[in-house]
Symmetry: C2
DNA sequence: GCAAAAGTGTTCAATGTACACCCATGC
DNA sequence: GCATGGGTGTACATTGAACACTTTTGC
């Protein structure tokens, strides 16, 4: 009977956490300490508590791993193939998160199935547990779609940043070069940045003006970015 | 302990099924035969079987209600607020489906909690059970986004249709009027339609040429529709 | 012949894209 | 003074938006 069949489903939330570190787009992976896939790298995740909604569960998992403050968090997709998890039925609701590189320090790991937590380059990943490769690929696709409509790349940068840094973060996500003048024209026309009277302390080169994200004007414009 | 806590989660799949009937955008609702929300209208849904993936579960629910052949089916979002379902924790993975108006006849209802199945006008719905109003609103939003990138409105029409019928289906989903000449220019530039040598048998007016969807050229173009 | 929907192009505005040189600084 | 990245504008192509009249048919 259909209803009883469901009693053994388990539901987890997995979070693909991106940041930029050393000029690379990176994703946070944990090394599994137990079977199945003991020793393999995996996306951080955990079971959903009865009293929390899905977003809260994702946020909790994120905070267990990263001690992060400012985040972009979005539900990605729910993966439920019966064979995705060996020997049991686990449905996972996947999220993706962007965190600022100045919130990078890893948090205390409270999981029981995990030994190590590490940032990995998105474009050269190790072998992953379960269907986590597919989940990461899907989240990259979604992140690119988002970037074309909304300026989420701010979430990867420190509070104050230069236009070149912003452009680099777009380029890392889209995996292609953008034209400097067109990029600046577009960004400026969106009226989302606040020009500061501060400059980057550079090495032997001209200092760059710093900007910060100006929330007031967000959502006031539309249009697609660099599609 | 976190792991045991999850044992009482239940997971369902709910499917928002759209069609066009009598020149209106409609959604399929079922009247609940048991508590909670006995007597209220709800989106069709059901528990996921252990052996099926989420897409299959959605398709099964769709077929129980509509006896449909050609469909567009897409995972929408997973809703998991602890309070969305009274007295138990039910997480639902919502889908939305578009079905052709010539596949309209309702199927045999195999559910146990349902008495009636009916098409309701999307833009004037009765009071709904659970968070189903929110789910339908979310699916309309998603359907509009899809329509701007991809020609899913075909899925609501019979195999052969006129350009005016196609335009009407766009207008119903977007809830706004479109310019006839611009619409035709755009649709034609996408090279997705096959011009037939047949014409609509009309009443007292000029017959309109029939077209059908030409799958060969799908995905070969990009660009946004009527944003 | 008239009512009713089918069908058809042009103009203008906005947006995206390609492209090259001077500037300010630290050494 | 030179190496390094910072900063700037114009011309062209593509796309979206506004807009009105003629054609074909059934009655």
């Amino acid at each position: 009977m259909m209803f009883n069949e469901t009693k053994t489903h388990e539901v987890t939330v997995d979070v693909v956490i991106f940041t930029i570190q050393d000029g690379r787009l990176k994703v946070l992976l944990v090394k599994r300490a137990s079977e199945p896939f003991k020793g393999r790298w995996a996306i951080p995740g955990g079971f959903i508590r009865l009293s929390e909604n899905l977003d809260s569960a994702a946020l909790r998992i994120l905070k267990e791993k990263t001690a992060v403050q400012n985040i972009y968090l979005e539900q990605l997709y729910t993966f439920g193939d019966p064979l995705r998890y060996p020997n049991s039925r686990v449905i996972t609701c996947a999220y993706f998160a962007l965190i600022r590189s100045d919130d990078l320090k890893l948090g205390f790991d409270q999981g029981t199935q995990v030994t190590e937590v590490e940032w990995h380059k998105v474009y050269s990943l190790p072998q992953l547990a379960f269907d986590h490769k597919e989940i990461i690929e899907y989240s990259i696709k979604r992140m690119r779609e988002r970037l074309e409509i909304s300026p989420i790349a701010f979430q990867l940068l420190p509070e104050k940043f230069t236009l070149t840094e912003l452009q680099h973060s777009y380029e890392l996500i889209l995996a292609k070069k953008l034209d400097k003048r067109n990029f600046r024209k577009k960004i400026m026309s969106l009226d989302m940045l606040k020009e500061l009277d501060e400059f980057s302390k550079s090495g032997s080169k001209r200092p760059a003006r710093l900007y910060k994200f100006d929330e007031i004007n967000l959502n006031s414009k539309r249009g697609h970015f660099f599609s």
